[in-house]
Amino acid sequence: MTTAIVKKCGFFTVATIALMAVSSCSELDEKVYSKDTSSNFYSTPGQVIAAWNLPYSFLQGITYSVHFAMEEFPTDEAAAPTKSGQGYENGTWERFHKHTWTSQEPFIKYEWSNIFQGIGYCNSFLDAMENRDLSDFQLPVSQAQMVAEIRLMRAFYYYWAINAFGNVPIVTQVGIPSSPPTAPRAEVFEFIENEILQNIDQLGEKGDPTWYGHFTKSAARALLAKLYLNAEVFSGAPRWEDCIAQCDAIINSGFYSLDETWDAPFKAYNDNSAENIFVVVYDANNAPGFNAHEQQLHSSHNQTYDLQYWPWNKIVTQESFYRLYGENDFRINQWLVGPQYYTENGEQHPIYGWDGQPLVITPEITQFVNMAGGDGQGVRNIKYEIETGVQANMNNDLVIYRLSDIYYMKAECLMRLNNGVATQEAVDLVNEVRARSFAEGDPDAVYTTATLTMDELLDERGREFAYEMKRREDLIRFGRFTDAWWEKAASDGTKELYPIPLEILTTNPGLVQNEGY
């Protein structure tokens, strides 16, 4: 029978058996067409530059959209109340306002994921640079500086992590280790401090060809100063002198000076601001993600600003915070209040609220969740200049560190070292910034050692740095975060840290939930 098969089978058996035999594992290797793979990448200077810039560009998508909400909505500075039933969003913003958030808030999860995605990008670049010699490449900065910058970016993302979550895993490689364990906050503090100190010398400085939006020595010092300023909260041990030293280094470097006006750092084209140290660079077309106008303005403001979308009418400021500003303080002009208009042929015409009546913005807000009305309640921030006719995204670069803050930080440290009492040096530092926001000769323009109390300093920080994502850490550092305000009752101290998001916690057995959640 066997011979019969062989004799009779001819072509087909041969073909069949041949086809059955033809195959090897190699045929299952994947050929990638419209992507690259890490084993192949980093082989040209352009590729290295593209990877080096990723931890920076990633900030565009996460800073205003999520980080802003995390740092502002649990404070007295900003809120997203429900107006005419719009924007309730399952009670999310009400819970942030009232400090009743849980570990299942989507935004807390986004913040965690975003921070560690940024850290992952840093680690990915640092992994790739390990044992790689790029000395043959024509690069705008040295490989050593690139590595140092990205380690600073990683430290920066870790600063967000220590600030929001406190105790987090310290991870320096992609995917390794499995189930990384929670490190105590003090350890994270030490890690950030060491990373900055070890790499600061390799960094560039303002004025270098690629400095803008990148980590310079001054930006690193600003980060370190922030770390020291909050050291007592983060690690249990105050580091006021160390903070002053870093602030001095920036102030004395000569690279920065205060802008003439309070709003110059926030103009649509603020890249020439003299005082901005580190910014997230945005652009309406190239780098979308900064849409303060969309989130804050009333929908009818599209007429006022010739906007091409209806704004979301989401973020307002609670009345008590607005009342911190004196009428004579130029900075009050960052709030939209009163009857709202649009201008056509030089004439002002009212714009209308959702009830069909001319829109009048009031500082008073009836209630946080208002299903029936209130679309015109709550002052809106226009600190960042809103260009007429701007697209869904703004061109303004978002300020992370600026010289004014360095002045205020140093002043605060001086006061804290002086038992919370202002020294003349501290008063001078604050006055130097504050004075530009008042008419010449206005007595309110300057503090004295008597008037600049710690409480006043906190209020003044609020006035100067409103909507700059500093309020949460300031309130915590001043011990005021848990206070009652507006619809918020006094909250528990455990709220000074966000919980580890439930989905993250259950994914990794190495994580330990923060106390109180």
């Binding site: 087909f12 530059i49 560009s57 990633f58 995605q117 991870v171 803008y212 309406a284 299903m371």
Partner: protein, 1097 residues
């Protein structure tokens, strides 16, 4: 039917003459001078005949083999009807199958087949036995249920070799030994009859036609089997049992016809929507668990490449032991589609066509313009701001009375060894909305031929489908519920009215009319199959198929749309091309041999499949005129407008490509002993490129067995049991459908743009980095399934038959897009294996012939299934998650995939009443009723399952004379449904910024929309799903027309349910919002009414 000797034709006479000559030869044959042509060994027959006169079968044998058939038409009724299916069956096997059971025998001499009545080993009066015992002679007549004599019925004396067959008048005469007292009458297609005889010498017998489907051929993948011999759970639906009416998704042809197979239409009657599908419950947590569709042996073919009218039968491989031969793709079940083939004989032309229309089945009761006004006045305040004076029924504005029509022309036939079937199908659907269009042209050619002394069997199938579609605007219907009914449709200038005040009140009609979303689709399915009979028992096969799917999309948003002006887009156009090419090559070697009582059927094969997908897309905006639509992308002004602040949204250029490969080796052995003890084992070793480097290969295997109890001697006395088979199987299958290629690789992609340089002097560059979390450990999802079942045929004629199955399937290493460990992973999600899902269920199918007589035939089919599923784990060593939230209805996710609960379980607050002000009260974890702001995630509870536990359907087929009526009742029970429209629109707090349901003012509720068990409803329903009434018009004998039937079908006629939504027929998979009627985007549900005509020429 019996042709008597009086009506014999001349041709019959000639055969009679020949028979006289042959008489001598026959005598020689009986002496054993047998000379079988070696040639007959290699002849095969392929035939698919149903109720065909046996003489036509003999003609076909001649045409296919050149072997003439000679028989005595006085002894053998040439018009007796037989049903026989043969797929390249060796001639001798075929003859045995055809003749033995009809009590005929045959001999082959040279190229002639001699057929005679009676079995060869049983001669009348058996001379060898004669005289040994005392005997009597029993005579009688055998007739069918209508009184016509039956010829060729085997009459055997129980326990003895004695026997005979009836003659053309149904008469028999048999010598019964003294010991014999039972006569057994058997005849193919009829129920056997056993009679205990006493002293009488005359017995008349009436035989009832057999109603069982045991001879049905079941397609099992890489082969076919008789239903009786199948050892796993396979359901077959023939074309005559398909659902009638407008069929836009071919899967709905078998909705309600297969137990365990749930098919729902969550998007109602949208002609462009696909049905939702699940076989034996949810099989995967991620993605769309599409079954593997095999069309004429092509695995992974697209069901849309062939027209529903071209489908001959659908076989559903339900359990793991049946599916394992398809390895890695069988987790969601395998659906094997066999297309229609030609049969030899005169060329047949048939046409069928239909026209249909639809009406809205149910609509939401929202406030009319005057209701709205009234409520505004009642609320006080400034009415004029909201009241624009109109009274618009927006839903009515958004719908029309559609007409759908379809035509199917088929020509089939064949000559000698070649058969063909060519069809042309055209369908045109409109949809009840204003935008939908679907025009479908499908051409198909099926060609089969034999060559090389009939050893080579060649078949070719070419199907080409072309579709032209415009898609509906689902969001428009959501908006029609919300928009202020006092708004007019048009403003005073005749333009679409747009509210100036607030962006949430856009005009849905303008959106529908002024936006275009089109797609043209081409689908080619070409397959060439060669089979070569190396030996009669050994066949080699090669199957090559090419499938191509080409999609060409076009979108345009008209400049007149308000949003286009306010956004500065001023007309937005885009196009997309997506092409997929699939090459499949399979080779098989099949062995089929009988060794006495041992029957072996084995197949081994190799399969290679490669899929390449590529595409291009581009978009532009700012058009000066709407004339171009999407046909002149370059004319848009945006692409070259670099002015700062210019609206460049929607300007893009893209292209992509991806590839995946599957390699497999497989083998299967089907064995039986004495047609009684059945065994089936299969194995497939399969490798897929998608998986991690060290995890590409998987082994899938199955073992199943059956025991046909009814063939055992001890069952002889159990008259009510005609057939009884026990079977059990265990199989391992896989899933890889949910995965995209390259998930195991560390890919680098383009991400955001970064600024590099001095302020004002730098440039923007693209940044690159890891664009996924690579998972080199990615591997198969596996399903292990145990199936135990029984097939039975009971009572007289076997009028009741059915099957009962129990299954237990455990799906592990579930492939999903899970939360990654962040850190040290980069992205929040990772494609990985984690978790375990258990499905357990019972399935019962019953077919009953309630009445069958001359004028009435009433068939009843009950299909029912129970399924229980539980997620037993969603974690692995690497992934420790405990829950995935799914089904975000706009106020958060309301369902979960979580340990210890059924998949897609509702999760949320527990309603505890309302405060006096109408504010929500919910139960907290301590059981206290508290307000909404005091409820956190810790207080949430599991609220019930969203996927039906029971599915039952009942098909009634009644034929009365020339009328036929088919009624399908379909029911799903045991699940909770959510009408999301109630959450948002039965809520007065959203009034008057949006319109509300009339019921919003009937409830004291006056609080923000929140989900809780307040909104859970019993989703159970019973539908009169499909009613078809047909009438076959009597034709004059000389007409060219052979058959003419007209019919009327109504679908979705009536629903009994307590559910408040439009239709409780909702999604049944987690990706499809199971049990939820969504609020913002939906398609209306309709009833359809179809008039059809079918003619054969």
């Amino acid at each position: 039917m019996l042709v008597t000797s009086l009506s014999r034709t001349k041709a019959n006479d000639r055969i009679s003459l020949i028979f006289l000559v042959m008489k001598i030869t026959t005598a020689l044959l009986l002496l054993g001078a047998l000379h079988v042509s070696a040639k007959s060994l290699s002849q095969t027959i392929t035939l698919n005949a149903k109720d065909t006169p046996i003489k036509q079968i003999f003609d076909a044998i001649y045409e296919q083999t050149q072997f003439g058939v000679i028989y005595n038409d006085q002894k053998i009724n040439p018009n007796q009807k037989v049903t026989v299916v043969a797929q390249q069956m060796p001639l001798e096997t075929f003859l045995q199958e055809l003749l033995t059971s009809r009590n005929l025998s045959y001999r082959i001499m040279e190229q002639t087949i001699f057929v005679q009545a009676g079995l060869a080993d049983v001669t009348v009066g058996n001379p060898a036995q004669a005289g040994k015992v005392a005997q009597r002679t029993v005579t009688g007549t055998v007739t069918d249920e209508q009184g016509n004599p039956l010829e060729g019925v085997t009459v055997k004396v129980g326990g003895t070799p004695q026997g005979t067959t009836t003659d053309s008048d149904g008469n028999f005469q048999v010598a019964v030994p003294a010991v014999g007292n039972v006569l057994v009458f058997t005849f193919l297609g009829y129920e056997p009859v056993e009679i205990t005889i006493g002293a009488e010498v005359t017995i008349d017998i009436t035989m009832q036609p057999s109603l069982s489907d045991l001879d049905e051929i079941v397609v099992i993948g890489y082969g076919a089997q008789k239903r009786e011999m199948v050892t796993s759970s396979i359901a077959t639906v023939k074309s005559d049992a398909f659902n009638k009416g407008v069929i836009s998704d071919p899967l709905t042809l078998i909705a309600g016809k297969v137990s365990g197979l749930s098919i729902t239409r969550p998007n109602g009657s949208d002609p462009n929507a696909e049905a939702d599908f699940s076989l034996r419950g949810a099989v995967s947590v991620e993605g769309n668990p599409q079954p593997l569709i095999v069309i004429d042996g092509v695995p992974g073919a697209d069901i849309r490449s062939i027209a529903p009218g071209d489908i001959e039968s659908v076989d559903v491989l339900r359990d793991g032991s049946a599916g394992a031969i398809y390895g890695s793709r069988a987790n969601a079940g395998v659906i094997i589609i066999t297309t229609k083939r030609g049969t030899p004989g005169a060329t047949r032309v048939s046409y069928s066509g239909y026209a249909s229309t639809e009406t809205i089945a149910k609509k939401y009761d929202v406030l009319t313009g005057s209701d709205f006004r009234q409520q505004l006045v009642a609320m006080g305040g400034d009415v004029s701001a909201r009241d624009k004076g109109g009274d618009t029924d927006w839903f009515d504005q958004m719908t029309r009375t559609p007409t759908n029509h379809g035509h199917n022309l088929s020509i089939s036939g064949g000559y000698n060894n070649t058969t063909f079937n060519a069809t042309l199908n055209y369908q045109n659907f409109e949809g009840i909305d204003l935008a939908t269009k679907r025009e479908l042209i499908n051409g198909r050619l099926q060609l089969n031929t034999k060559a090389l002394d009939d050893k080579l069997d060649f078949s070719l199938m070419l199907a080409n489908a072309y579709e032209d579609k415009s898609f509906a605007h689902y969001y428009g219907f959501g908006q029609a519920l919300k928009i202020n009914p006092t708004y007019p449709v048009y403003d005073e200038n005749g333009d679409y009215f747009e509210s100036p005040e607030f962006g949430d009140q856009w005009n849905p009609l303008a959106d529908t009319r002024l936006t275009t979303n089109d797609q043209k689709e081409k689908r080619l399915l070409g397959t060439v199959n060669l089979k070569y009979a190396i030996l009669p028992s050994l066949t080699a096969g090669v199957n090559y198929s090419l499938t191509k799917t080409d999609l060409l999309g076009g979108n345009y948003t008209n400049t007149a749309l308000r949003w286009m002006q306010t956004s500065g887009l001023n007309g937005q156009a885009s196009r997309s091309v997506d092409n997929t090419t699939n090459n499949i090559l399979e080779t098989t070697l099949a062995f089929n041999e009988d060794f006495n009582d041992h029957h072996i059927n084995a197949v081994a094969g190799y399969s290679y499949q490669n899929e390449f997908n590529e595409g291009v897309g581009a978009g532009n905006n700012n058009f000066l005129t709407d004339v171009y639509s999407y046909y002149n992308l370059g004319a848009g002004g945006a692409i070259f407008n670099y002015t700062p602040g210019a609206q460049r949204g929607g300007v893009f250029v893209s292209s992509y490509a991806q590839e995946q490969t599957l390699l497999s080796y497989f083998a299967r052995v089907i064995y039986d002993y004495k047609d009684r003890y059945l065994l089936n084992g299969s194995i497939r070793r399969e490798g897929a490129s998608k998986f991690g480097k060290d995890h590409k290969w998987g082994t899938f295997w199955a073992l199943s067995g059956g025991w046909i109890l009814s063939r055992e001697g001890f069952m002889d006395g159990v008259g009510a049991v005609k057939n009884l088979k026990l079977r059990a199987g265990y199989g391992v299958t896989g899933n890889q459908h949910s995965l995209q290629p390259y998930q195991s690789l560390a890919t680098i992609g383009r991400l955001g743009r970064a600024y590099l340089g001095m302020p004002g002097g730098g440039y923007w560059l693209d940044t690159y980095g890891p664009d996924i979390n690579s998972n080199p450990d990615l591997r198969w999802e596996t399903k292990k399934e145990l199936n135990v079942g029984v097939d039975f045929t009971l009572f007289n004629n076997g009028w009741l038959n059915g099957a009962f199955d129990y299954y237990n399937r455990k799906i592990s290493a579930l492939v999903g897009n899970y939360y990654a460990q962040v850190p040290a992973a980069i992205w929040p999600l990772i494609f990985a294996n984690a978790g375990e899902l258990v499905n357990e269920g019972l399935e019962l199918t019953l077919n009953g012939t309630l009445v069958k007589n001359e004028s009435v035939d009433w068939q009843l089919t009950l299909v029912s299934a129970y399924n229980r599923n539980e997620v037993t784990s969603i974690s692995s060593e690497q992934f420790q998650g405990t829950a995935h939230d799914v089904s975000d209805i706009g106020i958060g996710n309301i369902q979960r995939i979580v340990n210890g609960q059924p998949i897609g379980v509702y999760y949320g607050r527990r309603y505890a009443g309302l405060t006096e002000e109408g504010k929500w009260l919910f139960l907290n974890s301590a059981g206290e009723a508290v307000t909404a702001d005091e409820i956190s995630g810790d207080d949430y509870a599991y609220l019930g399952n969203s996927i039906p536990k029971f599915n039952v359907s009942l098909t009634n087929n009644i034929t009365y004379k020339r009328f036929d009526l088919s009624v399908l009742l379909r029911s799903a029970l045991g699940f909770k449904a959510v009408n999301a429209n109630r959450i948002f629109h039965e809520n007065r707090t959203t009034f008057p910024s949006s319109n509300v349901l009339r019921t919003a003012f009937d409830t004291p509720l006056n609080d923000a929309p929140l989900f809780s068990d307040y909104y859970l409803e019993n989703g159970s329903y019973l539908k009169i799903d499909n009613v078809t009434l047909g009438y076959s018009i009597p034709l004059k004998g000389n007409s060219q027309l052979k058959k003419l039937r007209v019919s009327a079908t109504a679908t979705n006629l009536f629903t009994i349910t307590g559910f408040s939504g439009m239709d409780p027929e909702l999604g049944i998979n987690t990706f499809n919002y199971p049990g939820i009627e969504q609020n913002s985007n939906y398609y209306p549900r309709t009833r359809s009414f179809t008039f059809g005509v079918a003619a054969d020429f």
